[in-house]
Amino acid sequence: MTATIDWYVALSAILFTIGALGVLLRRSAIIVFMCIELMLNSANLLFVAFARSLGDLHGQVLVFFVIVVAAAEVAVGLALIVTIFRTKRSINIDEINLLKG
């Protein structure tokens, strides 16, 4: 007996859901960003698992692109958080409501 692709699918779904719940429930912008990273990672895990399952290396190459985009996103996002913190003295996403009608 060996672990099949379905196990990885289930694990990835669980991790993705934990990340999504974190985005919905936490109000610290930094934690929300970390949860987004968690969701990206669960997708990466699924890419590599399917690459292994199908014997196709292209899935592994796609992981690189996901990592690059995540790195760029984190850099810009954290810069935004720092800038918002400077002006509003808070990173509570409930208080960032200037665009609220």
């Binding site: 099949t4 699918v9 669980i14 934990i18 429930l25 930094i30 698992a49 190459v61 690189f64 985009v69």
Partner: protein, 175 residues
Amino acid sequence: MGDPLVFGILAIVAIVAALMMVTSRNAVHSALWLVLNFATIAVFYVVLNAPFIAMVQITVYAGAIMVLFLFVIMLLGAEQLRGTGVSSRGERFHQAVAALLGVMLITAVTLALMNREGAGGGTAVPTMPITSPQELGLILFETYVFPFEVTGVLLLAAIIGVAIFTLRKKRGTAV
């Protein structure tokens, strides 16, 4: 695709680390739990015959990105910001709705992925040698040259954007 025992242990560590990351009150603790989660995923990559991706995961994710997170947390002194000062009205309601949506999401994702074409029957996993960086590089620079170059532009845009965001504006000078 891995021993069930190894998979079980790693899966438990990954899920517990993720849960602790979401529920942790201290942002630094959250970041450290996330590092543990990333490391576990890297071990998964090794199990899945992708050691190079595992190393990239450790260096880029657990190394660079999480260090950036920790720097920002400590720079802002945001360790103990509870994310809330006064508990807003209807907060419980929001949490209940979020939990319901989360349960619905995991149900939908699991059902969609379990009922996909060819699920369950695919026991014949092809034998695949451990991926060498050379093979990955060949695919990357033969099939995916254009996306690779686009990522270069993306990173440049990110660098310029971050510089513009964080430049301290001197008073009286237009930026």
